[in-house]
Amino acid sequence: MDLLVEIKDSITVQEAVDFVESPSCGGVAVFIGTVRNQTKGKSVQKLYFECYTPMALQEMEKIARHIQQEMGIQRIAILHVSGEKLPGETVVVIAAAAPHRGAAFIACQYAIDTLKETVPIWKKEYFEDGEVWVAAHP
């Protein structure tokens, strides 16, 4: 297999990079998503990620396969966390390896943009004065 999709409690950049590195690929691009410490000026205490894991993995694999078949990427890893995360912690890592750098940059952007639109994962933000499911309401 030359793609890796995983959802688990804790992820590292290194495991994604280790998976995609290959002698035939001269470019590896990585996107790292972390917990921001504020939203619209309000301090964020923590995030909680809920996943419909079997469907989320299927949707992540669709993204990975599209990237490999249409975007010139040889190896791709998409990792996402579930559960509680504190500001600064890593919540998503995407690594793409290609013979040349251009395809790798484009693939990372496509993967994170599409993940945010299609993968059934939900984020709740906890503030000092309450909590909210992100982007649930218009």
């Binding site: 059934p120 939900w122 649930a136």
Partner: protein, 77 residues
């Protein structure tokens, strides 16, 4: 049929899984049933239905034994 709920939809229903005994045979009919039972679902930016872990269209049929899930607006990443 059983219906799985996630995120804010789970909070609105007050349960991660609900039993639906109404005779709903299509995705659109299920959504209307859910809107009637949980009116706050109407306030969401979107309310997709997944059948067997795939996003379903309004006209898709529901079969006994399908794994059905309510997918409120996703916000991963």
């Amino acid at each position: 049929m059983k219906v799985l709920l996630f995120g804010i939809a789970k909070d609105i229903a007050g349960a991660p899984v609900i039993q639906v005994d109404a005779p709903v045979e299509q995705v659109a009919a299920l959504r209307e049933y859910l809107y009637g039972r949980y009116p706050r679902l109407r306030d969401l930016r979107s309310c997709m239905i997944a059948v067997n872990k795939v996003y379903a269209a309004d006209g898709d049929a529901l079969q006994p034994g399908d794994e059905i899930a309510v997918i409120p607006p996703v916000s991963g990443g």
